[in-house]
Amino acid sequence: MYFKLALRNVRKSFKDYLIYFLTLTFSVCLFYAFNSFQEQQAVLEMTTMQSEMMDNAAIIMLALSWVVAVVLAFLIIYANNFLIKRRKKEFGLMMIMGMSKTRISKILCYETFMIGIVSLITGLFAGFLLSQGLTVLTAQLFVLPLTKFRFIFSWSSMLITIISFAIIFIIVMLFNTFILGKYKCIDLLNADRKNEAFKIKSTTLTIILFVLACILLIGDYLYVMKAGINMFTNLPAIIIAGSLGTLFFFMSLSGFLLRFIQSSKRLYYRKLNMFVLRQVNSNINSNVISMSVICIMLLLGIGAFSTGLSINQTVNANINANTPFDVTADVYYQNMSFDDAMAELGADLSDIKSKFTMDIYYDYAGEDTPGTTYATLAKLVPEAELDSVMTNAGSMPLAIYPLSDYNSFLQAKGLQTISLNSDEAVLAAANEQAYDAISSVYNHAQTIQALNQELKLVKRDLPITNVINNTAITTTIGLIVDDSLIENNPPNSVYMNTQFAISHYTNITLKDGVDDTAFAQKIYDAYAQNQLDDMFIFMDTRSEIYASSTGLTVTFTYVGIYLGFVFLLASCVMLALQQLSQAADNRRYYLVLNKIGADVRMCSQSVNFQIAIYFMMPLSLAIVHSLVGITAMDKVIAILGKTDRLMPALMTSGIVILVYGLYFLATCSGYKRILNQK
């Protein structure tokens, strides 16, 4: 019988349940789709390396799902709480008719169970569809053909989803029972008559809070913008200052906004403006904490989207410049050359079309010697023009290329060689960001202190590219000097932990049609067979760098989209629920307005206006936060190369506008539906 009653309740209040149901379905859908990530390999023809990347990404996604599950659990409890509040009077009636609290909570549990089952099924189905879309996306990111496409269903992901949501639903049931136990019958019956406590804040307090908020936020912004990668060491402080600033901002904002608009009588005393502003004011005042939470979640969402997408752009843009040759080999064996070491191994080098040696020197800063480092470059540029490439790298040494080797490189690339005097030096950049950095060095300095002497900086027309296959920062900026300079300062050891180190790289171009992975594997096999003591072989093949770059891209893109959606969804749902829960209370206000002559259009405009302000408040601050955060993150990502800000920004704003807009419209229409109820 209780089951029937519960079923009828759900059916009857379906429209009330709609936003709860949608939230659940979305959550299940996202959760399933992103956990079924690994199964995509079934239809994608991936190389072993790509599969490994996918596995790694899947592990990260699974770990992330714990965080997401916690966020979703809070969101679902919040939405559930909203429903319970709306139905207080109904529970009061049940109690007065003699139903015990245990029975009422039993009915509630049945209801939660039913809603849970239905939303799980629809959510899994939606997630199943979404995961097919994600497969297409992965195929694009890895540049794979989708010839074998078929629908795949991930049982393991379904299991994870069902278990996680079952736990969430059990928490919701316990929560409902607890909440219901706390209520008194009289309060339930009078629920719709009770006014929310109305607080009036003093002006002085508002001003103090506002000033505090500004100091905290602006200070935080300045620090984050300036610190670059160093901000991670002070992350807790940054987060605490930012959150407090946000909280104070919302505590004082509504009062400030109100005073500000009140100062323009023409604006304030126009149609229903006065009413709307007062409404928003009291809404924000009673939701300060959740407003701040929403704002920070939006920041996380926007940040996740744009960082995920911009890493994608950055990596893809730099991948060609970072793989100038088929293979770059780095072999250490008793000071032997590459050829001799290979002969010693008995490796088959017949696949090589051409190769040349590229020596790179590093002049580390020591206790007595200044070294030739990124900091050396940074000193040449005025502080305002300091680029993150230089500040992030700090005491890292610059790559020093002997002129003869650099000319071999130019020849291998089919370019004109350059010439230098023995007291001259040229800067070379591996990507656009580094190119901007060296341009500003050229603009401000004529000489550079390197290899313990003063060298004249001269300009040559050089390609913007790495000289070896490398994605690390070690060769982002290079200094080309005459060979004689290096001969005068011989490196004291071949090992890296000394002050002047050398690495002998061999850049290899293979014959047409030879697979670089197979070539590298043959050498590794020979190495494994011979077991030569003290021999180290490092090889960076083009395919490997491509695969790991796309692996990085895929992981970041997915993490970005996943987190971005979850946080965006959570903020939208919270905003929508807050507005809708007030709609019932505000209904009587709108009835009064209608009676004293405000027509339907005026009321409808005022509803839209009210919800729009309420939705825009946290978004505007979140956008300012994100702009600062994204700029700071860009500086960090800049290590990987110049970031393209426009595309990720456009895509992020597109997604935010879409999701936010949909929830805004849904809230407006839901609000009006509640107002128009008889």
């Binding site: 006014n195 109305f198 009036i200 009588k265 023409r266 304030y268 005393y269 126009r270 149609k271 229903l272 403006n273 006065m274 009413f275 007062r278 409404q279 004011n281 009291s282 009587r588 206000y589 009835l591 009064v592 307005l593 209608n594 009676k595 004293i596 002559g597 405000a598 027509d599 339907v600 259009r601 005026m602």
Partner: protein, 255 residues
């Protein structure tokens, strides 16, 4: 004096074909400019329905209602809102002030809805506030005021637009006797000094005794009509009690 309100044979039916309730059953009467009319009747007699029809919140099934020679039963939705804000002022039993607005703003809201320019608002609000002696309450929020003060703010809101007709639905229903008397004194003053036309629905004989003329309604029909004329309020009050007793309502409804 010409007629401000003229009601001709209005009827209001509720329900469907098989079960019709006649809330108003062929009522006709007129209200002159500057009159203070009371409408009395037991619960369910149709007095609130009558007020709702006149205030255009509800529509009549048949018949015509003229206010200022305009047939309001012919007005469309937006015309109705315009009519309401320009011609009518409302006073409700439970005040219906907006909690988030100060008293001043509650009064000003009636003007802003009427699109009165911002520059004129201050003068008009202060003017009406002094008539109702609530100048010191203007910066308070409804939650900071007593019931009587709230109802006088509501009165000011109804009056500030200079409506042709003020409709009051049980204005003293939620007030204690002292506040009720103060409010009624104010209403009497509005009627006598400022020539406001007031139509008031009540089932309280004391409240009704402030009116000039009282219409008694029972089962949707006009049952009786008494006019105060030159009687003192006490005599008029006794007359009202007589009719109420006659109406079948017991004296429980009386003060």
């Amino acid at each position: 004096m010409n007629n401000l309100v003229e009601i001709q044979n209005i009827e209001k039916y509720y329900g469907n074909r098989s079960n019709v309730t006649k809330a108003i059953d062929n009522i006709s009467f007129t209200v002159k400019k500057g009159e203070f009319v009371g409408v009395m009747g037991p619960s369910g007699s149709g007095k609130t329905t009558l007020l709702n029809c006149i205030s255009t919140i509800d529509t009549v099934t048949s018949g015509k209602i003229f206010i200022n020679d305009q047939d309001i039963t012919k007005l469309k939705r937006n015309g109705l809102a315009k009519f309401r804000r320009e011609e009518l002022g409302f006073i409700f039993q439970d005040f219906n002030l907006l909690d988030t607005l100060t008293a001043y703003e509650n009064i000003a809201l009636a003007l802003t809805i009427n699109k009165v320019p911002a520059s004129k608002i201050d003068e008009r609000v202060k003017d009406v506030a002094s008539k109702l002696e609530i100048q010191n309450e203007l910066n308070k929020y409804p939650i900071q005021m007593s019931g009587g003060q709230k109802q006088r703010v509501a009165c000011a809101r109804a009056l500030v637009t200079n409506p042709s007709l003020i409709l009051a639905d049980e204005p003293t229903g939620a007030l204690d006797s002292k506040s009720a008397r103060m409010l009624l004194d104010s209403m009497e003053k509005l009627n006598q000094e400022f020539k406001a036309t007031i139509m008031m629905v009540t089932h309280d004989a004391f409240t009704a005794s402030y009116a000039h003329r009282i219409l008694f309604i029972k089962d949707g029909k006009i049952f009786n009509e008494i006019i105060r004329g030159t009687d003192s309020r006490k005599t008029f009050f006794n007359k009202i009690i007589e009719v109420v007793t006659l109406l079948g309502g017991d004296s429980g409804n009386v003060l």
